[in-house]
């Protein structure tokens, strides 16, 4: 499953220009370039055509993808099982609310807020999530496997406890409203701006924020995974002691990856909060953590593409089932006695986790990659 290293090698060897990087014309000849181009045009154009429901669903999926990339670096690439991802999502989401929100009274609760500029609050929220991961590093650096998995389970319960009890910061059971993001004087809220005869509300505007955030997150993660740190992480996963003997500072790497993945979770949390426009503690429970684990297993452990594919699969599934519940045979609208869409999607992704591990090691993302590579001529150095 160490496909990140395997993937990096052919990229270098298949560069046709001897001794140099791929030239521009070579790039133009590859079908992949066009696929990427068409996909990006489509993604940029979507807000002009889709309605709010699908845009929100897409935004959830983007936020989930960012979080899943972080978890995949930790669990997939480094082999550190974490059940506490939802906690760091909560840290990101709530830190943003606390830092950006004004002090106010809501439902009789006095809420504390620092009223910082929202862009600064977003950055600080990501850093705070990382710091929370750092505080946990004495444990994250030392434990592994099941021990770490269950130790991180504690984070979920600690997180829920704080969210429900620290009322002046988190708003308790009712949660707190999320101040809309504003960048360079442009606010991503529901005041309508008409672009090319399409009214742009918060979902349309946030769509582009989500795209940029996801792109940056994915590129950074790809850089980490394909470079020296990525190889060290895979070495730790595959053979911890051998990695240590070869000079990889195992404990430091484990703690470092944990912090990095918490920062990804924090960013995902901020984005989720912006989409939801309200943070509630119940959302950040254990089920959310399990969903993230399901995402990376279904998509494919250890790769960025896997995390993104899995995130879209798991987070769009309930939305699709809800939307088409009338026309699907087994699924019915919630409360009518049949199989509710939420339940149906849980069956599906629960079964998908099992099926993918048993029959499709490498996850859904491998389906797309495996095909074009077969046609490529084998180069020396490739097994």
């Amino acid at each position: 499953m160490s496909d990140t290293t395997a993937e990096a090698a052919p990229l270098v060897t298949t560069a046709p220009a001897p001794g140099g990087a791929e030239s521009f014309t070579d790039r133009l000849r590859r079908p992949r370039t066009y696929a990427v181009l068409i996909a990006s045009v489509l993604l940029l154009a979507l807000p002009f055509y889709l309605d709010r429901f699908w845009l929100q669903a897409g935004l959830f999926a983007m936020a989930a993808a960012i979080g899943a990339i972080g978890l995949n670096m930790l669990t997939g690439a480094t082999g550190q099982l974490s059940m506490g991802h939802a906690f760091f999502l909560a840290v990101g989401a709530y830190s943003y609310c606390i830092l950006a929100g004004e002090s106010s009274t809501e439902n009789g609760h006095a809420l504390t807020g620092l009223g910082l500029p929202t862009w600064l609050a977003a950055i600080l929220a990501v850093l705070l999530a990382g710091a929370a991961g750092g505080v946990f590093s004495p444990i994250a650096g030392r434990l592994r496997g099941a021990y770490l998995g269950i130790a991180t389970l504690a984070l979920i319960f600690i997180g829920q406890h704080i969210l429900f009890n620290a009322g002046s910061l988190t708003g308790g059971y009712n949660g707190r409203a999320v101040p809309p993001l504003s960048l360079f004087g442009f606010t991503f809220d529901d005041t309508e701006v008409v672009v090319a005869a399409v009214p742009f509300g918060s979902s349309e505007k946030l769509w582009y924020v989500g795209l940029v955030a996801l792109l940056l997150a994915a590129l950074f993660a790809r850089g980490v995974l394909r470079g020296r740190p990525g190889r060290a992480m895979n070495a730790i996963r595959d053979h911890r002691i051998a990695a240590g003997v070869m000079g990889v500072p195992v404990a430091r790497y484990r703690a470092g990856v944990f912090v990095l993945s918490s920062m990804y979770a924090g960013l995902a949390g901020v984005l989720l909060a912006l989409v939801f426009q309200r943070t509630v503690p119940e959302y950040f429970g254990m089920i959310l953590s399990l969903e993230y684990l399901a995402m990376i297993v279904i998509g494919g452990l250890g790769s960025v593409a896997g995390a993104v594919v899995g995130a879209f699969f798991v987070s769009l599934l309930p939305q699709v089932l809800t939307h088409y519940s009338d026309s699907l045979p087994l699924v019915s609208a919630p409360g009518t006695g049949g199989l509710a869409p939420g339940e149906a999607s849980r069956y599906l992704y629960g079964a998908a986790v099992v099926a993918v591990v048993l029959f499709l090691p490498g996850g859904l993302a491998r389906l797309g990659i495996a095909l074009p590579r077969v046609t490529r001529p084998k180069k020396s150095g490739e097994k």
Partner: protein, 296 residues
């Protein structure tokens, strides 16, 4: 003082139930090196079968069917899922059990809905008074039953040929296989035993003073995870000690909640996890777990 003793005894009793769950968890880990995150749903399955059947066939037969049911669910998971995995990464298998857990929990909670199911136990809400200390009968029954089962289990683990093959497989699977021990049968037995123990635990997690079997029961069952971890995942002694520690901590933290109000409401549910984190900081392999010898 009487409050303290009552809380302590109550904690020991619920702790012995946690120990029962943790023991099954540890048995699976020892036999197959798989962390079974589906353990809470095994427990829920056993409890559900008992709850559904007790009206028709009486409590004791229903309990037996429940135990058999949970054992066969466990065995089925081993046979149809775990055995089919051909890789060698045990943390991937742990995630598979999460997938199984999602399936089982969704199915069971869908069947239960928001109902609170009674298991029809014979003890009801009667209490016993011993020298000014009030104890629910269910608590005493839980302690005795858990103690009995754990003793029987440990004796079997030590003296029967089944136990010997189990321990041999845990010690060194390759050698055990060469000595003629069928590893598949060992892990099948481990899953079945774990399911059976969990079904008994389900009974005692849902009797008085708890209202009955409901969705939240699986959350209570989750406390066996910190119990198993803080005792040490590969130690049966650890599972017992961990279970008792978790039970007593939870009971005391809940009982003295008013004195701990600065920590917020519901600290009792959190206490086991805090103790676990504290123990892991000092002993990363748990209290009785095998320490790692490799140091680089």
């Amino acid at each position: 003082m009487t409050t303290f003793i009552e809380l302590l005894l109550g904690g020991l009793s619920i702790g012995s139930v946690y120990a029962l769950i943790a023991l099954g968890f540890v048995v699976i880990f020892k036999a197959t090196e798989v962390v079974n995150f589906a353990h809470a749903s095994l427990l829920l399955a056993g409890g559900y079968v008992t709850a559904v059947l007790h009206d028709d066939i009486g409590f004791w037969p229903a309990l037996l069917v429940g135990i058999a049911g949970a054992a066969s669910v466990g065995a089925a998971i081993e046979f149809f899922v775990m055995r089919r995995y051909r890789g060698s990464d045990h943390s991937v298998l742990a995630i598979v059990t999460i997938g199984v857990d999602i399936l089982l929990i969704t199915e069971l909670t869908r069947r239960m809905g928001t109902d609170v199911l009674a298991l029809g136990d014979p003890w009801g809400n009667e209490v016993v008074q011993i020298g000014g200390i009030t104890l629910a009968q269910t608590r005493i029954a839980a302690f005795l039953a858990a103690g009995l089962l754990i003793t029987v289990f440990l004796l079997a683990f030590r003296y029967t040929s089944w136990g010997v093959s189990m321990r041999a497989a845990a010690e060194n699977p390759q050698t055990a296989a060469l000595m003629g021990i069928k590893l598949g049968r060992v892990s099948l037995a481990a899953w079945a035993v774990a399911g059976a123990l969990a079904a008994v635990a389900a009974l005692f997690l849902t009797v008085f003073p708890t209202p009955g079997l409901e969705r939240a029961t699986s959350l209570a069952a989750l406390k066996a995870f910190p119990a198993a971890i803080l005792g040490g995942l590969d130690s049966t002694t650890g599972a017992l000690a961990g279970g008792l520690i978790v039970g007593v901590t939870e009971s005391l933290a809940t009982g003295y909640q008013s004195d701990l109000s600065f920590l917020g409401r519901g600290i009792g549910d959190l206490a086991p996890y805090l103790v676990m984190v504290a123990v892991l900081l000092i002993r990363p392999a748990g209290l009785f777990g095998t320490k790692e010898l490799a140091r680089v």
